[in-house]
């Protein structure tokens, strides 16, 4: 910003006040630099009936950015509400900072996934760290105590030099922040594909727990109530960072589009958690809002527009780290670890005392007024006078053109059936080793061992289990399970099906632990909305996810859209990441994935067809992506879920593991290695061993049943119409596919576990 609009002299002489703006309609303003389009700027002028002040322009431009306003995605996201299945469990639906789900016994759970993709490419450690910080504040702002985090990640090719920069930094950042905050990391994903080379996807999920009566929504009701800003001081870092970074494609010719990323302070955030929850429990808080993208612009306009009155804010009272900041910069700063609370006047002293106890800086910066306006003052002059709804909720909405790309047909016609396959036992054996040691299918323990999974003492399942599971009540054993999944290769072949497949897989992973899936959060990572092909992928994925959620009875409660994941013409694979939350009445009943006891019977649930489109095998063996993704039958997924949950509840299964990318053999190997026990497997009569082992047909899972439970288990499957085939037994020290090959676990383990450390260690 420059000239009259941006700068204020020390004495405020050049201050662009509301009155000044009204008097100087023709002043040039840097709306384009701030990312507004001509017609958007004109709309601001029309709303205000004058030109905006510099401060107002700053607010509108960040709040109307793609990242904050969802202007390209809104029309498609609507389906999540319109098609939402009825769910008694939903206490707070989509639209709030995070949805809230009833999990029984008076407990409610809130969870949400968000992206921090672009900042993590620019500065991997801090970008990823502040991604965790941001999503955790969303959860605190609902009044919940955060209890766990997860991190679905996508990187460029594993052997690309830049991946060696990005991955270790991202992992260290997620660990550095999450570990220091004291939140167990209970799951995530790591996927490599060259399509993510310049656009890694760093998504972060947080889950929190509260009692029903503690649910708090962000609003500023009650004239005379005080607005308190607390947490870190406001600095000049990341001004417009997340919103502008996440709303533009990278273009190496414009390095100025890479503003400094923010540095996170997890210790400050830990104090914020304790201080906020203590204030909630003392009944001191009327409304609350975290400061994330768009900082104070967002917090003040959203709090004000969700309440009944207006708001008056004194920017001079904002504690600054850098005293030279202008009002525009203070409004746009994305300094981390800040929150905004609305507190009744009589409770302010108690609120400040709690902040003092936790050594958190807290300042009253304004109050709720009985008008309808958000007014912001600087040096006694009014620099903002807006209807907050026009800033927070009435941003532009675009019906972007979209079109099925011309190449889609050719891609789908490129059937993997033509690819040469392993012909005998020896070749199958080699294919298994190649699969299990490939970066995508290899063990991720080098990464997950950098995350604390024990802190808080309630982690029941953690990586590499199918889902993470947290106990929330030690008396009754009530717990929740979560899994996140998304397969960009499937979605590239068919974005509608890809979204349904993502939900199916996450649902299956949660059910495999024994938990009942209840609700969904999603992070939609796509290319530029200005590209009709990427927009079509986005529209299709939204339609697919909304339809699938409807069918499975699991509403979307919240999520995040990340667009512009694109370098030049090349967009990332369309990557809908879906997080599913489930509940389990007693965590002691959970089903782990390990084969532990010799003699357990191994059953394959579901049907296997020849399905290799987008498969891990086609990628590893042939670098191939084509055809159509596996068929997904959501009724079958639901039935499989019921069987897995019943088996857990009634103690019929010792182990369960979902089957997804890599197919049956991947799941078998993981369960063997997890328990340190081998398996003897018989290929069913008439089955093609290759298809049996490597196909990625959906709606399948592996279970280990003690002999004593076999009849009860198979009767249950038969009664419910679930195909269940006994394919082997837990036995010995090898994965032994009879008549084909035997792989000693030591060899399997070496192949599976050495890849990632060798690449990044």
């Amino acid at each position: 910003m420059s000239g009259e609009n941006g700068k204020n002299g020390k004495n405020g002489r050049n201050l662009d006040t509301v009155e000044h703006a009204a008097r100087t309609p023709d002043t040039e303003q840097p709306w384009a630099e701030l990312g507004l389009k001509r017609d958007e700027y004109d709309r601001v002028r029309e709303i205000l009936g004058r030109r905006p002040t510099g401060a107002e322009l700053a607010m509108y431009s960040v709040m109307w950015s793609e990242h904050c306003s969802y202007k390209s995605s809104k029309v498609h996201l609507k389906q999540f509400g319109d098609k939402a299945p009825h769910s008694d469990a939903l206490l707070v639906g989509i639209g709030e900072q995070a949805g809230v789900v009833d999990v029984g016994q008076g407990y409610a759970v809130t969870f949400k996934v968000e992206s921090h993709n672009h900042p993590s490419y620019v500065e991997p450690y801090q970008g990823a760290a502040t991604g965790i910080g941001g999503i955790v504040r969303d959860i605190i702002a609902m009044g919940a105590r955060p209890v766990a985090v997860m991190d679905p990640l996508r990187f460029g090719a594993a052997d690309h030099p830049d991946t060696k920069r990005v991955l270790p930094g991202v992992v260290a950042g997620i660990g550095g922040y999450g570990n220091c905050l004291g939140l167990p990391n209970i799951g995530g994903e790591v996927v490599f594909d060259s399509c993510y080379q310049g656009n890694p996807l760093v998504n972060a999920l947080c889950v929190g727990v509260m009692k029903h009566e503690d649910i708090h929504l962000a609003k500023a009701a009650g004239t005379g109530n005080k607005v308190i800003l607390y947490g870190a001081r406001t600095g000049g870092d990341g001004i417009g960072g997340a919103s502008i970074l996440a709303s533009e494609t990278f273009d190496s010719e414009k390095p100025s589009k890479r503003p400094a990323v923010q540095v996170g302070d997890p210790f400050q955030e830990k104090l914020l958690i304790e201080c906020t929850l203590e204030a909630f429990h003392a009944g001191l808080v009327t409304g609350i809002q975290d400061l994330g993208a768009a900082g104070l612009s967002c917090a003040t306009s959203e709090l004000a527009s969700n309440g009944s009155g207006g708001m008056r804010v004194e920017l001079d009272d904002v504690p600054l780290r850098d005293s030279s900041l202008s009002p525009e910069e203070i409004l746009m700063s994305e300094s981390q670890e800040r929150m905004c609370a609305v507190v009744e006047p009589g409770k302010v002293a108690d609120f400040l005392a709690i902040c003092e106890k936790w050594e958190v800086t807290a300042t009253v910066i304004g109050e709720v007024t009985d008008g309808e306006r958000l007014e912001i003052y600087w040096h006694g002059e009014r620099v903002v006078d807006v209807d907050p709804r026009t800033v927070a909720h009435e941003g532009p909405v675009y019906e972007r053109p979209y079109a099925r790309p011309g190449w889609q047909d050719a891609l789908q016609a490129d059937d993997p059936a033509r690819l040469p396959r392993p012909a005998d036992g020896k070749e199958l054996r080699a294919a298994v080793l190649a699969l299990l040691s490939s970066p995508n299918q290899a063990a991720k323990s080098w990464i997950t061992d950098q995350y604390d999974r024990y802190v808080l003492g309630d982690t029941v399942l953690a990586p590499p289990e199918d889902g993470g599971m947290i106990r929330i009540d030690a008396e009754t054993g009530l717990g929740v399970a979560l899994a996140t999944d998304g397969n960009g290769r499937y979605a590239k072949l068919d974005p509608y099906e890809g979204a349904r497949l993502a939900l199916a897989e996450a649902y299956r992973n949660v059910a495999a632990t024994g938990a009942r899936p209840l609700a969904v959060t999603d992070c939609l990572n796509f290319g530029s909305p200005e590209d009709p092909a990427a927009m079509w992928q986005f529209a299709e994925a939204c339609r697919g996810l909304a339809d699938a959620c409807h069918q499975l009875g699991t509403p979307v409660t919240g999520g995040n859209v990340s667009l512009y994941n694109q370098t030049g013409e090349a967009a990332v694979h369309p990557t809908p990441v879906v997080g599913v939350l489930g509940v389990i009445d007693d965590v002691a009943r959970r089903t782990p994935m390990a084969f532990r006891d010799e003699g357990q019977l191994i059953y394959l649930l579901g049907d296997t067809a020849e399905e290799f489109g987008g498969s891990a095998w086609s990628q590893v063996a042939h670098g191939h992506l084509g055809g159509t993704p596996p068929r997904v039958d959501l009724e079958r997924e639901r039935l499989l879920g019921e069987i897995l949950i019943a088996a857990s509840r009634d103690g019929m299964a010792d182990a369960a593991h979902d089957i997804s990318d890599g197919g049956l053999v991947q799941a078998l190997a993981e369960s063997c290695l997890r328990g340190g026990k081998g398996a003897r497997i018989v290929v069913p009569d008439g089955a093609d061993p290759f298809v049996f082992l490597f196909s990625e047909s959906q709606g399948r899972a592996l279970v280990a049943i003690p002999r004593s439970e076999e009849v009860r288990f198979t009767d249950m499957c038969a009664a419910r119409g679930m195909p269940a085939a006994r394919i082997g037994v837990v036995d010995g020290g090898s994965l032994d596919v009879q008549g084909q090959f035997a792989l000693p676990l030591s060899e399997l383990r070496a192949a599976h576990e050495s890849t990632i450390p060798e690449l990044f260690g």
Binding site: G175, N179, C180, G182, F267, D449, Q450, Y451, L456, G457
Partner: protein, 227 residues
Amino acid sequence: MTTRIGVVTFPGSLDDRDARRAVALAGGEPVALWHRDRDLHQVDAVVLPGGFSYGDYLRCGAIARFSPVMESVIGQARAGMPVLGICNGFQVLCESHLLPGALTRNDHLHFVCRDQRLRVENAATPWTRDYAAGEEITVPLKNGEGGYIADERTLDELESEGRVVFRYLGVNPNGSHRDIAGITNEAGNVVGLMPHPEHAVEPLTGPTTDGLGFFTSVLENYLVSNA
């Protein structure tokens, strides 16, 4: 009368709640102690829990050492009160010079969280009486700066006086000298270790229940010494 075991909460402490739970599961009475409060509330023993006190920004434990509560803890420790420092608590004890040596950045430079096998070398401290010397246990380990180092003379002294209380088995997870996982002071009442016994007290949430012995040991100690 139950043994009162204080668990200190510094800003940034993370495993304080778990340590209190472990005390309770063992049959003791957990007492929450606050970093700004010098008063130890008549506790019989103190646990300094894991976490990142004050963010651990300067060096782990360096700022916590100067907190008001530590003045009292240091005084009582010198007077013989059993004090257990777990992970960050161990770092605080070293920074306070209640234990010799220092904990440095893991040699591989990564934070590591793993189930760690240990050998109990000294089963005579108030925190290890319920183990047998030479017993092997498995408890979680999670740290970024857990490499125990001291000069050769100090190390020799620790060895010869039987003050190495725990040693890593199988893997040395952080480059600690002589595989040392935990040590005690000359008097034997102050014990520090990097692994987390408080995360191994329940079969559902820990890899084992091997950690419970720490918290039962100190109860017996109280009964014995007051008998």
